[in-house]
Amino acid sequence: MNAPDADAPLIERVKQGDVRAFEMLVVKYQRRIERLIGRMVRDVDLVPDIAQETFIRAYRAIPQFRGESAFYTWLYRIAVNTAKKALVELKRDPVVTEAALASRDDDDETSRVENELSDGETPDAVLASKEIAAAVNAAIEGLSDELRQAITLREIEGLSYEEIAELMNCPIGTVRSRIFRAREAIALRLRPLLDTREGERW
């Protein structure tokens, strides 16, 4: 699989001084980074702080990011280092050994064990998260085969549009449109659950 780094256009924007492009990357990776840190640090109150620090450090270091590895790999390392540093400073011990972390590196996306991050969250938030997951799954079930296949190949298999076009035997423009329509169909089911009340924040 030789899909180009999907983050390259945004990183390019950040390097040209566009802070908003960095915000878009934050929105993309914040959940994964918080889960990662949640596995290293037992104290759930610390997780958001360390995640914030991770992104600030990444922002400062991004001129040095050369794209030799995927952006997430790079960010992952910064998160692990930031968490370790925080733990040293607080003289606490990480609950997960480094070896265990490393072995999980590869299947980070699919691993569903030890998802204890929600410990300190309110029951309401946990319920809301479950509703969101259920809505996404229901929406996926309701998609036509074409749309479901396109979004699955992209989001789960991580294929590029070109590769999906080859597999589905259609033009790249069609792939682009199918993935968009799949996302919109799922988002339509999600939007009632995603109302922030303080909508001006987004």
């Binding site: 999907a6 256009p9 802070v19 492009a21 699919t110 938030a125």
Partner: protein, 222 residues
């Protein structure tokens, strides 16, 4: 497909393509501008990213208000950070962006030729240092003076004088030891080199050393 969102569908499709990194630089810039101005573009971007996360792993499901609060808090910290690299004005029209890119390209080619010229200036500088006491040296000083501010065309002058001058340094070599402590250098060259640390860092322009000798061997080898 009716999306129920207020923003125009072209922009939303561009957002979707940007999620996958399948956009060119002009479109990426436009989508970033939309994110800047349009709240619904921000919530759509969040929804698309969340969908991807949940598809890969259900435990990444998170409420929008949690995520929005995280970004909100980060924003206040980001605002205190210096802007990354060269801050450039953000123009919204592709035409303006194209013009700017062209300008960048021109500047890059200019810088490349200047870098080459600077290389020759460094060589010429060594020559100046070595040959200054002799009458002939005045010509080389002139060459380097011309070369430093004006770039590529002058570089050919410096390049032309360099091999000949290097050949002469073979003769000048014994004399060099005596001149060690008396360096004659154009003060403008000093300033130029101070601004280009990579040359100032080498010993080539200080006391004659490694760099000069290997160059001499090379010249005599021909």
């Amino acid at each position: 497909m009716s999306s129920g969102s207020k923003h125009d569908p072209v922009a939303a499709e561009a957002l979707s393509a940007l999620v996958d990194g399948e956009v060119d630089t002009v479109l990426a810039q436009r989508v970033c501008a939309a994110w800047r101005e349009d709240g619904s573009a921000r919530s759509t971007w969040h929804a698309y990213q969340l969908i991807g996360d949940v598809l890969r792993s259900e435990d990444l499901a998170s409420t929008a208000s949690q995520d929005a609060a995280f970004l909100d808090r980060l924003r206040t910290r980001l605002a205190q950070e210096p802007v990354v690299l060269a801050p450039q004005p953000l123009e919204s029209t592709p035409a303006a962006a194209a013009v700017r890119r062209q300008g960048l390209r021109r500047r890059r080619t200019w810088m490349a030729s200047t870098a080459v010229a600077a290389g020759f200036v460094a060589v010429a500088g060594v020559v100046v240092v070595l040959r200054a006491p002799s009458g002939d040296g005045a010509a080389a000083v002139l060459a380097s003076r011309e070369a430093s501010p004006s770039g590529a065309p002058a570089a050919t002058v410096a390049a032309a004088t360099a091999p000949q001058a290097l050949a002469e340094t073979v003769v000048a070599d014994p004399e060099m030891q005596a001149l060690d402590r008396k360096m004659l250098r154009d003060s403008r060259l000093d300033r130029y080199l101070a601004a280009h640390k990579q040359f100032a860092g080498s010993s080539a322009l200080g006391v004659p050393s490694q760099f000069l000798r290997s160059a001499t061997v090379d010249a005599s080898g021909r």
